[in-house]
Every structure is written in structure tokens, then in C-alpha cells.
């Protein structure tokens, strides 16, 4: 890539979502809008190397894309005339004309359009994988190739996923709008889940596997921060941003020089990123000042307890147990129960924690979950029950598919003697 291409790339990264959103309002179809925006990019790649980059590159691209949209609408109108379907379509046309006129005039509506774009990209009609790919493509300005490298899948798979997703949205005539009332809550949950999925995809990977993966964390965070500006009244949006900021603050501390995982309580806290922690704590404060806090805000509050403790010993475990209680009332997840058991063991002693963990061995969902024997092994060891602990660590090693984790479990089993 030469300098001008890299510069155009940067402009695209900044402007593409806004251009797609603006055009989508005119043509009422996200897939088509993206194609028209892409055409504008192609025009820029042809023109700008000769003319230089215009002073307002975003406006240039938007104008070109809008003109293509107008051409498209005209062609569609002619086609419709030919088909003599004018009568019933007339009303719809007038509506299009009106929304098209205000798309030309009102740039300040761009925030609403971006929000609509995000809601459509994360529409429940699509598979979770398709929502992720479409969100990164439409809102993140990522290329198919970049998405493929981030998810360690082929470019063809990603391209196909995006094409299908666009077709599904078009066929279902998914409206370009932010849903209201009850549907809004449900659809917002899907948006947040997609962002957290992107974040975790990056977070779960260990360092060095692929340079794209940590950048997924950054992209999820950026989209979350963007959403927090677009929907500032939603507690859970700030809750999710807080959770991601705080988790991202530990990225550098959570693996050793050879990529081996380092558990939260053993991390070198001087390696945490305190700029992100500060941002996370203020996002949490915003969430806690709003109504309808949910599981993201609670998880962020738990993460914040750790972030505030300068040393692992200073952790406020009683507060964490209380937050897990609240989280459990919301989610009823056995995994949350297991986490709560760990917190109880720190707050009230290992025996109390072990009793709770033992009760979970009957749970069907946790039957093959490696962290249950891992936690039990840890607590048994702390209680001096070496042989039992060893058996639990061995069980955990057999259950995990992650090789690094497996090695760690076997090492811990060996140490029990």
C-alpha cells in the first residue's frame, strides 16, 4: 500500500459508517447502502491519487454516495413505472422522497442513522456470527480480509456470511429504524451481546497468536464508546463499556512471557492500564446513575472492585459476594454461582466456598465445565486435602481443550503431594 492508499484507508475507517448510515436512510436497505458507499470509495481510489485528498474527504465521499443513491432511486422508480405498479406504491414513493429530501439537508440526524445501522446489523434475524461480521464491516469499516484474519477463518467464509446477512435483511424487509418500547430492550440486548462477543473473541486469545485479535478488543471498545454517545440514557451500555474498559486494562498483565495465563489475583497490578481503569470507573459511575441496571453493570461493578484494590489482599470480597448475589438474581447462571463460591471462599473462608462449589457438582450445565474441578481443586488444596485436590486438577486437565490451561492444571496436580 502506498501513502495515498493508506490515507484513503484512514479516511474510510473514520467515515464509512456515517456514509453507509446516511445512504441507508435514503434507500432503506443496509446492504445496498453499503454497496453504494463502496462505489464511492472506489471513485475516491481512482480520483484522489491524481487530485490529492480533498479538504473534507468525508463530505466528498458522502456526496458521491448520495448521488449514486439518487440514481438508484430514479432507476427503481422507472422500473416500477414500467411494471405499472404506480398506484399502490405511490404513497411509499412519496415517503421515500420526503426522507430523501431530509437526508440531503439534515446532517445532524447522523447519530440516529448510526444507531439504526447498529441495530440493523445486530438484528436477531441473523446468526450471531453474521451479526458480528456485519457489525465489523458496516460500523467498524473493517475489510472482509481483516475480519477473516481476526476470526482465523477464510476470507470466502466471511464474504459469504456478509452477503447472506445482507440478503436476509433485504428479504425480511427489516426496517431501517431503532425499535421502540419492549422491542428496543430486547434488540439493545442483542447489540450489547454482539459487542461483548467481539471483545471476548479478542480477549480469549493469548498474545502473539494473531496481531488482529487484540485489536478486536479495541474495536469492540471503540464501538461501545460510540454507542455510549449515541444512547447515553441506557445504563447497560455504560455498564458494558465499563466492563470492557476494566477488562482491557488487564490485557498486558494476564499472560506471562511465554503466553501462559496469569490469574487475576496473581497479576502484576503495576502492569494494568490505569488510563483504561479510570475510564472504566467513570463509565460505571454513569451506569450506576441511571435506571434499569443489568448484568453488564453488575459485572463491571465486580471488575471495579478488583481494579480499585492496589493489591490482591486489599480486595473487598464481601462487596463482591453481594454483587454476585445481585447478579445471580438476574441471571441464575451456575457459572455465576461458581464465581460466587470463589468470592465466598475469600470472604468467609475456604470451607464455606468449598461447600457451595460441592453443591454445584450435581448441576447438569457444569458437568463438563473444567473450571468447576479447577476451583474445587484449589479450595481442597488450601484446606490441606492434597489427594482430593490432585484428582480435581487432573479432572480439570482432562476437560479443558485449551492446551496452555491443560498444562497448568497438570502442573498443579503434580504439585499436590
Amino acid at each position: 500500500m502506498n501513502d495515498i492508499q493508506r490515507a484513503i484507508d484512514a479516511v474510510w475507517r473514520i467515515e464509512s459508517a456515517k456514509i453507509i448510515a446516511t445512504v441507508a436512510r435514503m434507500v432503506r436497505e443496509v446492504g445496498l447502502a453499503e454497496e453504494l458507499a463502496q462505489d464511492a470509495l472506489v471513485a475516491a481510489l481512482e480520483r484522489w491519487p491524481q487530485t490529492g485528498i480533498p479538504t473534507k474527504p468525508g463530505a466528498w465521499l458522502t456526496t458521491v454516495a448520495k448521488h449514486s443513491a439518487i440514481d438508484h432511486l430514479r432507476r427503481r422508480k422507472l422500473l416500477e413505472r414500467k411494471h405499472e405498479e404506480l398506484g399502490r406504491e405511490l404513497e411509499a414513493e412519496l415517503e421515500t422522497a420526503a426522507s430523501f429530501a431530509d437526508a440531503m439537508n439534515q446532517d445532524e440526524d447522523i447519530d440516529d442513522d448510526l444507531l439504526r445501522l447498529l441495530f440493523v446489523a445486530c438484528h436477531p434475524i441473523l446468526s450471531p456470527e453474521a451479526r458480528v461480521a456485519l457489525t465489523l464491516r458496516l460500523l467498524g469499516g473493517l475489510t472482509t480480509d481483516e475480519i477473516a484474519r481476526a476470526f482465523l477463518i477464510s476470507e470466502a467464509t466471511v464474504a459469504q456470511r456478509i452477503v447472506r446477512a445482507k440478503r436476509t435483511l433485504a428479504e425480511a424487509k427489516v426496517p431501517f429504524e431503532v425499535p421502540r418500547a419492549e422491542e428496543r430492550t430486547e434488540r439493545l440486548a442483542s447489540v450489547l451481546a454482539v459487542l461483548y462477543l467481539i471483545f471476548n473473541e479478542g480477549y480469549a486469545a493469548t498474545a502473539g497468536e494473531s496481531w488482529m485479535r487484540p485489536s478486536l478488543c479495541e474495536e469492540a471498545l471503540r464501538l461501545g464508546r460510540m454507542l455510549a454517545e449515541l444512547a447515553p440514557q441506557e445504563a447497560e451500555v455504560h455498564g458494558l463499556v465499563a466492563l470492557m474498559e476494566i477488562q482491557a486494562s488487564r490485557l498486558r498483565a494476564r499472560s506471562g512471557p511465554d503466553g501462559e495465563p496469569i490469574l487475576l489475583l496473581e497479576q502484576d497490578r503495576s502492569r494494568w492500564d490505569y488510563l483504561l481503569i479510570g475510564r472504566g470507573l467513570s463509565a460505571l459511575k454513569r451506569a450506576e446513575g441511571l435506571a434499569d441496571q443489568g448484568s453488564y453493570t453488575l459485572q463491571a461493578a465486580i471488575a471495579a472492585c478488583h481494579a480499585r484494590a492496589r493489591t490482591a489482599q486489599e480486595t473487598d470480597w464481601k462487596l463482591i459476594v453481594g454483587l454476585y448475589d445481585a447478579l445471580l438474581r438476574q441471571t441464575q447462571s451456575p457459572i455465576v454461582e461458581l464465581n460466587r463460591a470463589v468470592a465466598v471462599s475469600m470472604a468467609d473462608g475456604h470451607a464455606a466456598g468449598l461447600a457451595l462449589a460441592d453443591a454445584l457438582t450435581e448441576n447438569e450445565i457444569l458437568r463438563n465445565y473444567h473450571l468447576l474441578p479447577c476451583v474445587r481443586g484449589d479450595l481442597l488444596l488450601k484446606l490441606g486435602r492434597q489427594a482430593e485436590a490432585r484428582a480435581e486438577f487432573e479432572r480439570a486437565a482432562a476437560l479443558t481443550r485449551n492446551l496452555r490451561e491443560q498444562a497448568l492444571m497438570l502442573k498443579r496436580a503434580k504439585a499436590c503431594s
Partner: protein, 138 residues
């Protein structure tokens, strides 16, 4: 990648201690700040009082000497900064190019050093550096 966009306003090196930007410029600046925030790239920002309200501490022969501002020898000075998180240097340049700046202002774009940029011996020597940052920021 993190970048600092450092604002160098010509003339600020000799500005009066109470010098504040005018309301119109502030309004423009707020709009720009908002665009950074809305794009989700803004991490931090600050404006600085003029050098006439500050001091310089120099260390000739390892002995700290304090000199009051303004500093006659300074040809330019910092007026403030933004810290942004972006994907490339070009993206940082694209953001800097959008700032509402006048004829006398310059933005210097500099990448922030990450701890992992240092070789291991420097990392060891810098141990505790992050903790120091923690103490100042929390």
C-alpha cells in the same frame, strides 16, 4: 495504537498568565472534541495554562534550578493535547487534519510508547513505572 496530538499555538510561549482562548474558538473546539468522542477514539484530553504561569526546572550538574516563566529562549510551547486510540498513524493524521486550528497553530502527532515496545532489559529497569502512573492517575 495510541497517539498524542500535541497543540503548539504560536505566541502562547509569551502569553500573559491568565490568557484564555476566546469563546468562539472554544465552541469550535468542543465540536471537534465531541466528534472524537462520538467516533469512540478519544481517550483523554487537556489544555495547559501558558508558560508564563509555569516554571522550568533544569538540572545543570544534577542540581535542580527553578526558573519562572515565560521562558525567553523558548520558540514554541505546548498548549494542550488529545490522546486518541486509532488503528494507524494515517488515521491519527486524518483526525489531526480535522482540528479547528488557526494560521498560528500546529498539531504535532506522536505515537505513545507502549510498555511492550521496550526491550526486556529496559522493561526490567522500568519496573514499577506503571505503578507510578497508577499512583498519579487513580
Amino acid at each position: 495504537m495510541r497517539f498524542m496530538m500535541l497543540v503548539i499555538p504560536k505566541g502562547y510561549e509569551s502569553a500573559e498568565p491568565g490568557k484564555m482562548p476566546d469563546a468562539e474558538h472554544v465552541a469550535e473546539m468542543m465540536k471537534y472534541n465531541e466528534s472524537l468522542q462520538k467516533a469512540g477514539v478519544l481517550l483523554a484530553l487537556d489544555g495547559l495554562h501558558p508558560p508564563s504561569a509555569g516554571v522550568r526546572v533544569s538540572f545543570k550538574n544534577k542540581k535542580p534550578t527553578v526558573t519562572d516563566g515565560p521562558f525567553a529562549e523558548a520558540k514554541e510551547c505546548l498548549g494542550g493535547y488529545w490522546m486518541i486510540q486509532v488503528k494507524s498513524k494515517e488515521e491519527a493524521i486524518a483526525w489531526a487534519s480535522r482540528a479547528p486550528m488557526g494560521d498560528n497553530e500546529i498539531i504535532e502527532v506522536r505515537q505513545v510508547q507502549e510498555f511492550d515496545d521496550f526491550p526486556s532489559d529496559v522493561q526490567q529497569a522500568a519496573d514499577g513505572f506503571k505503578e507510578m502512573q497508577a499512583a498519579t492517575k487513580s
